[in-house]
């Protein structure tokens, strides 16, 4: 093991001489740089003949001391001299971090960027919707270009493979609604209205809404990630150059799958939730299943079903469009895919809830109460 770096100071007639000894390497430096800086008065000669080993960091320390004190370096062998020369050639001011603006301006700038960004996204989404409509019209005029296989594949991914998780989620939600409803209504002796609560809220609102959230998380994100990584790998550009429209090959099958399957999944979800609620009523309220079904038929108007089923395809459209749109916006690096996937899900769920509020007001005002 070589000795760690050290130095001695000697005053000679030609000036102060600093003799550095030991291994002048990154591992053996310890506090030498600061001690060398502290030598006062500063050296005019740095003698490195006693150095056992030298690496670029050591060479940099020597170069820095010589530069700062205008000293000369003596006694190095050929390798050491070359190393110091190499390092001094690389002496240039380099910043470590980019300049930052003052916090106030930065916050203001970020707010502005975010506002402009969300406006741009909305305009972009609208433009995407327009492009989608044009492609759909093209496809209607040339039905041979319709990609049946891709659509069926998406049906499987978006619909069939989601049945398990959506079923489980709906079943549990049905139980929760029944349980919470029963607890509250019991205070008024009105437990029997739990059935109304379960039947109406699942068909009208929760069945479709929860399904939309699940589909946005499962399929909307997948759309964005798939199309995004295809953009990165230039697959989408390759399609265009071959003459295949990415709109027809990628977007329409996904949008169609989501639009067609959302009502089915929503209805399925409502049904399972009602079953879950029914089982809870049977166990907790001693309401036999036959009576439960009979009560459901009496208290749930058919319009509740229409409310749910009419909303569902619109939600499906929103989810698939956000996913595909965000995926198409990916450019640059893999990090972007992650960011775009996140925004696809957030955007889809946000828009679904906003639209749901509009639908609620609309359906109430046309008398479907």
């Amino acid at each position: 093991m070589t000795a760690s770096a050290d130095f001695t100071v000697e005053d000679k007639p030609e000036g102060r001489v600093v003799r550095v000894t030991g291994a002048l390497t990154l591992a053996q430096l310890r506090d030498l740089p600061s001690r060398l800086d502290a030598v006062d008065p500063p050296p005019s000669v740095i003698d490195i003949s006693g150095i056992e080993r030298l690496d670029t960091v050591g060479a940099w320390i020597i170069h820095r001391a010589a530069r700062d004190h205008n000293a000369t370096v003596e006694g190095g062998d050929e390798d050491a001299e070359r190393l110091i020369e190499h390092v001094s050639a690389a002496d240039q001011p380099v910043k470590v971090r980019p300049d930052t603006r003052p916090p106030f301006l930065r916050v203001l700038g970020e707010i502005g960027d975010a506002t402009a960004g969300s406006l741009r996204t909305m305009v972009g989404l609208l433009g995407f919707f327009g492009a989608l409509m044009i492609s759909v019209w093209d496809l209607i005029r040339h039905p041979r270009r319709f990609r049946g296989n891709a659509v069926v594949r998406q049906f499987e991914v978006v619909g069939v493979e989601a049945l398990g998780i959506i079923g489980l989620m709906s079943f549990l939600i049905g139980i929760v609604i029944a349980q919470q409803g029963a607890v509250q209504l019991r205070q008024f002796g009105a437990e029997v209205f739990t059935v109304n609560l379960i039947g109406r809220i699942t068909l009208r609102e929760l069945g479709v809404l929860m399904t939309a959230i699940m589909v946005a998380g499962r399929s909307g994100s997948a759309f964005a990630a798939q199309i995004g990584s295809m953009r990165l790998a230039e697959e989408v550009d390759a399609m265009r150059t071959i003459g295949v429209s990415p709109m027809e090959a990628l977007v329409i099958p996904r949008v169609l799958a989501a639009v067609v399957l959302m009502p089915l999944l929503g209805f399925y979800s409502s049904l399972i939730a009602i079953i879950g609620g029914g089982i809870f009523c049977w166990i907790d309220l001693d309401l036999p299943p036959v009576t439960f079904v009979q009560r459901i038929r009496e208290v749930v108007p058919i319009t509740d079903l229409w409310v749910g089923l009419l909303k569902a395809p619109v939600f499906g459209l929103i989810i698939a469009m956000s996913g595909c749109f965000q995926g198409m916006q990916v450019k640059g690096n893999a990090e972007e895919v992650g960011l775009r996937t996140t925004s696809a899900v957030v955007q889809a769920i946000f828009l679904v809830i906003v639209l749901d509020a509009f639908f609620a007001v609309f359906f109430s005002s046309i008398g479907w109460i």
């Binding site: 740089p33 670029t56 820095r64 190393l83 380099v94 470590v96």
Partner: protein, 269 residues
Amino acid sequence: MSDLDTVICVKGLRNSFGDAVVHDGLDLSVRRGEILGVVGGSGTGKSVLMRSIIGLQTPDEGEVEVFGQSMIGREDTEAKNIRRRWGVLFQNGALFSTLTVAENVQVPIREYYHRMDEQLLNEIAAYKVAMTGLPADAGPKYPSELSGGMRKRAGLARALALDPELLFLDEPTAGLDPIGAANFDELTRGLQETLGLTVFLITHDLDTLHAICDRVAVLADRRVIAVGTIPELLALDHPWIQEYFNGPRGRVAADAAHRQASGEAAAGA
């Protein structure tokens, strides 16, 4: 065979992925202070070999020694002391995307030397960045703002951060334009001479092989079929080697290297 002049020693290496056997009975040794080029067709496991040596891939069988110490089955804490003695440049630079170039260079130093003075740390990052031929304004940039060639240089700066004795380069000139590739070769050679590095260089670039490699190892048939200087390899009668070095591209590269060598000799005289 752990004498001082052998930096890397691989014996009887076997790697497989499922049914596909990539290496079987592969032997290789790298001498101190040389630039060893590793060539081979696509899919012959050049990168897998490098990953086996640096411990990112555990081989099925075989022995890997670096600096005379076995790398197989070594604890992470022990391996750390060996890892600080080498630097690795991955194919696309593998820079940390959330850090600037200069911060990337500082990462290894911070990891091993916690009490390094911040000022000195910045200076080290600065000269390392400059040494690899990056412009001064590249330091505070993020990797996503750099071109492919600059990213490779920044990756090299990070690989050199701890002043390693051994440098692994995975296709350093792939994707660079010929001028950038020639500059990178010159840079590698210059650094190797100044710092006394041993370099393990995976490449497809015939110009690089001719310009800077002391020896070339050829990977084929799941093992290293030959190691030697290019003239030595040319004397062998293996079809792949003949086609590789004597194909149209090989000839052009050889001619270019020859012209340059005679030009330098003339200039020196």
